[in-house]
């Protein structure tokens, strides 16, 4: 029923938006036209605004009976032809893991907004805690890859949500937006660009696949799932199948299947499927990963961070630079896949790496694994709170002495 789908309608300009609102608007700008969710603090503003805004642009909103239902409906709608997302927090995210693993196996582009709160258990709903970073990657059964973005401002929640939808469309894997209880409720300036500028940034959902010569593919030529092209030496990711078009396979299984979508129980088949869905991400790490570096060229000590701690670290590094200390900042805009190569290059430049995180240290393990030349890596954990700029400044000072 594409006649009821309309364009993004927010007039360009400056807005004061809560983080959660910015995430919704970013999703709508990216072409998200389906949302299924379940109330859980602190992400409630996302379904609330979605229920108001989606019908205005012809999208569909449904409040499901639980998080499992929400993400399953999102998978259904995604192969039903709409860009779809859900959002949740801590315990709800755990419930979604089963379906995320399945979505990765059948290569459905879905986006999950994860407004993190403290844990374990029910935790505290009003405090930030980046407690689900590893769960997002390793929470589900089986081996699969996710793409995860970690915005740090309302503006980034708008921009990176568009990026997240683009990544999901391109790489056909579950994509996560890491927000947290604080970032979700921060009120900040968001600049909405004009529609034609937005359109250039958005990768639309394709209904027809084309071959190298630009001819539409016949059904027989179309592969529903990723296949390794030996000749070209790259992974061929075809367009997402749509249940209402020719391309939908006769049988789309939940079990292990071949790239032609034939379910079977051969070891070879499992090897091909697992390799393909993982390597299509890992082999393209450089294309997917987004990082940002500040003053790292001549730095002796570098802070590696993502999400809100990046803002704290930026302040601390500015303070340290003002005092003549050679400090640098390395920011992971995408947390998953991990920017192994870039971190390795960083470790060759600096003498010491500090990793401030709002958890007991989840990404620091990956930083340690990426470092090859024995550069010292030190975690700076903060539980359910933001680091103080002074605190990180002192850590930099100590590291340089």
């Amino acid at each position: 029923m594409s006649e009821y789908i309309y364009e993004y309608d927010m007039p360009p300009g400056r807005y004061v938006w809560m983080g959660n609102t910015a995430m919704v608007e970013g999703a709508l700008a990216a072409g998200c036209r389906f949302f299924a969710g379940y109330p859980i603090t602190p992400q409630n503003e996302v379904p609330e605004r979605m229920s108001q805004r989606l019908p205005q642009v012809g999208g569909r909103f449904i409040q499901m009976e639980d998080e499992i239902g929400s993400i399953s409906a999102v998978v259904g709608a995604a192969l039903g032809g709409l860009k779809a997302m859900t959002s949740t927090s801590g315990p709800g995210f755990s419930l979604m893991q089963e379906t995320m693993s399945w979505a990765a196996a059948i290569e459905v582009p879905i986006v999950v907004g994860e407004v993190q709160r403290t844990g374990p258990g029910a935790g505290i709903v009003s405090l930030p805690h980046h407690s689900d970073i590893i769960q997002a990657h390793y929470g589900g059964n089986g081996e699969y890859q996710v793409i995860a973005f970690a915005p740090a401002t309302s503006q980034e929640l708008f921009d990176l949500t568009i990026e997240a939808f683009n990544a999901a469309e391109t790489w056909r894997t579950p994509t996560i937006i890491f927000s947290d209880s604080w970032l979700g409720h921060i009120h900040e300036e968001v600049k909405v660009p004009p529609l034609d500028e937005l359109k250039k940034r958005v990768i639309p959902r394709k209904k027809v696949a084309y071959d190298a010569e630009g001819k539409p593919l016949k059904r027989q030529q179309y592969l529903p799932f990723t296949m390794y092209d030996k000749k070209a030496g790259e992974y061929k990711i075809s367009i997402t199948p749509n249940i209402t078009t020719e391309y939908f396979p006769e049988w789309l299984p939940a079990v292990t299947h071949t790239p032609q979508s034939i379910p079977n129980e051969f070891q070879e088949s499992s090897e091909i499927m697992v390799t393909n869905i993982n390597n299509k991400i890992l082999a393209n790490e450089e294309k997917i990963v987004k990082i940002d570096e500040y003053f790292t060229d001549d730095a002796d000590v570098a802070l590696v961070c993502y999400g809100l701690p990046y803002r704290t670290a930026l302040r601390s590094v500015k303070m340290a630079r003002a005092d003549g200390m050679k400090a640098g900042l390395f920011r992971l805009i995408t947390v998953w896949p991990f920017a192994k190569k870039a971190v390795r290059e960083l470790s060759q430049k600096v003498k010491k790496i500090l990793v401030p995180e709002i958890n007991i240290g989840q990404i620091v393990i990956w930083v340690e694994a990426a470092v090859e030349d024995g550069t010292e890596v030190k975690p700076i954990p903060a539980i359910s709170r933001l680091h103080e700029p002074k605190e990180l400044y002192n850590e930099i000072k100590e590291a340089l002495n």
Binding site: M1, Y4, Y6, D9, F34, A36, P55, Q56, G58, R60, I62, M64, E65, D66, I68, G69, S70, S72, A73, V74, V75, G76, A77, A78, L79, G80, G81, L82, A84, E98, T99, W102, R219, Q220, I243, T244, T245, F248, P249, E250, W251, L252, P253, A254, V255, T258, Q260, I262, P263, N264, F266, E268, S269
Partner: protein, 287 residues
Amino acid sequence: MSLPPYTPERPRHPYEDMPYTGRKFGQAFHLFCRGCGYGAIGQLLCRVFKEERLDEKKHPFIVGVGCYSIIPLILPGRIWMTLHGRTLPVATGIKLANPDVTPICLAGDGDNLSIGTNHFVHACRRNIGIVLIMLHNNIYGMTGGQAAPTTPHGMNATTAPYGFLETEFDAVSLAISAGATYVARWTTAHPRQFMKSVKKAIKWKGFAFIDMVSQCPTYFGRKNDMAQPVDVFNWIKGNSIPINKAEGLSPEELQGKFIVGEFKESPREELSEKYIELIKRAREKKK
């Protein structure tokens, strides 16, 4: 490496070479146990598809996990196999995204009354245009004969070797009280009535639920002193009471019986249609 060949060529006409025993991947075999009722159900669904000339793009089969997951081997059209118990939310997503599509969900009693009961009652309540055929064989067949929420009280299963202590679920009453608009129950002993019901359900505006009782000779039969497949079939047939005859009977007399028939037909507005109205309203209001 030896993978089975993929034969993507489609028949010229979707119904041209669709024998009742199936056409998926050109197979001439099936994987059902001897005497299983699911083969018959698959065949009946093929007949419905052929007789009604259904458009396969409009009626995808959404299949859960259980013994019945091999029925699609003989089914026409598009099959989407989901996770255990998640057929209904997936179908909800499809239906809302494409209101002109009516997914046909195949779910087992374990899918629907155990792991996915939540989705089931809420789909009934929403009255979303989905056909749900619940295949009900009183046991978990695929995993080896464990007790199901539909195992009758006192019957044996591999996880109830001394007899099942709990009381079974009545899916029909559950669906009626949850608000499903079309509710029917048939058994493998009522194939024609079942076909008629499915035809009606596919055209039904709203949530249509059919509870289809079937025999499991391999586990349910063997565990409960019904050695031959036909014994289980006869047990089901003997315990079936048409709804008009059941009306005068007391609850004690109805204990352990399968009441068959069409229980409810009361149309109500369908969700995805209402949602299109909502879109129009929301856009009107914005102006």
